[in-house]
Amino acid sequence: MREFRYERAADMAGALTLLAAEPGARPLGGGTNLVDLMKNGIERPALLVDLRDLPLGRIEPTADGGLRIGATVTNSDLAAHPDVRRRYPALAQAVLAGASGQLRNMATVGGNLLQRTRCGYFTDAAAPCNKRSPGSGCAALTGEHRNHAVLGASPHCVAVHPSDMAVALAAFDAVVVYETLDGPGELPLAEFYRPVDSNPQLETALPPGALITGVVLPPAPVAAASRYRKVRERASYAFAIGSLAAALDIRDGIVHDVRLAFGAVASRPWRARQAERALTGGPADAAAFAAAADAELAAARPLPHNGYKLPLMRNLAVSVLTELAEEAAR
């Protein structure tokens, strides 16, 4: 870790000015990912701009009945918030499925969205990795890739995004809001993460110098009946090998509204729109759920050692949607 300067931004304008003035600057939220990567030599910022004094720590209802979540809200506070638990239970569950109690107390919403992949080649400074060192190659393609992407990957990078929270946010059409020196902007989560293509080092569509100020959840009645389920190689305190956020609204036995997003299958939370389209307006039974999952996974391109993710995601989708359907019928 190289020596660096540290500034505590007094306000938004101050933070943006500091970040703009120093190309090697990084905003510091909880630090749970950034400091980790600095210790590995993966991140070597010249300046850290601490956001702790910025007024971004609140969760507020929006006028249209959604929620606005500040960028420095901790994962813990997000998951404990009554409105989140009541109106978007899958979001609370997703956050609670991530990391540990200690890390959730530190980690922020903005930092969670921007966390880097946990690919072992990315975090090992000696390994080839196009994401970390563009043009050096992707060691995972022919190496260890059991937990790498089956959807939306490219020959340049097959890493997956590690966030649980972002999977639920993707299912609920969250919008990322940010500030720049030129004014505010927003990006729907579906556009926030860039496709991998040949530039895996470019991960988000945030303009240079932008600072995430929060996430807006639009109203989504369907989200009240939602669930997040995560599969991992131990029962807790591990990243997903496959996860699913689902919400289901059944009326008269017909799927009125459905939300489905997959985690740990792609470089970004994977909104399963094909599956949603296949289900909407049709029956809510196991056969339909399986067919919908298959429709989504038809585009999958598994590598030699991660093909299990296809049956895993299919079974997860059937299992979780069946649970939601059964609960709706009660």
């Binding site: 660096f4 300067r5 749970t32 980790d36």
Partner: protein, 178 residues
């Protein structure tokens, strides 16, 4: 180390203000251990992957290894050395001692600090990944063994004293609420 890469900070450690100069690279963990002589907080992985360095930061549990000391300026830190009061063990410490909630003892300060926070978080009604229904209407979850296991999962114990730790946290929870 130049002025711009180090800072003078004040931490409120176990109730005492402590002023020190830190290299910005110094973590709260190393500040406690190397600058303040508080070696009860342990370094197990230095990357937030084991929980051995768990302390309470403004009353909430945190891993000190990923907390830069400079960014903890002005905050209250409780370490294992500050858990017992006037030499009287906290019920959580009593329970670990009596029920053998450890073996080598290296993860123990982190386990105990984490357990203190688990009791607070549960009392505040926070759900966990083991909570079947997270909606507030479902009411606060009972602190079952499965809830304790999930909530304590950020604290690894390679000796695998887990069953006794769970018993100790359950016993302490009863003692604290009694």
């Amino acid at each position: 180390m130049t002025a711009s890469t180090s800072s003078v900070i004040t931490l409120h450690v176990n109730g005492e203000p402590r002023t020190l100069t830190v290299d910005h690279r110094t973590t709260l963990l190393d500040a406690l251990r190397e600058h303040l002589g508080l070696t009860g907080t342990k370094k197990g992985c230095d990357h937030g992957q084991c929980g051995a360095c768990t302390v309470l930061l403004d009353g909430r549990r945190a891993v000190a290894c990923l907390q830069l000391a400079v960014a903890a300026e002005g905050r209250a830190v409780t370490t294992i050395e500050g858990v017992a009061e006037d030499g009287r063990l906290h019920p959580v410490q009593e329970a670990f001692l009596e029920l053998d909630g450890y073996q080598c003892g290296y993860c123990t300060p982190g386990q105990i600090c984490s357990a203190l926070a688990v009791l607070d978080e549960h009392a505040a009604g926070w759900p966990s990944a083991a909570t079947a229904d997270v909606r507030p209407e479902a009411g606060p979850p009972a602190l079952t063994d499965d809830e304790i296991r999930e909530r304590m999962s950020g604290n690894l114990c390679r000796c695998s004293a887990y069953p006794a730790i769970v018993r100790a946290v359950a016993q302490a929870a009863k003692a604290v609420s009694a």
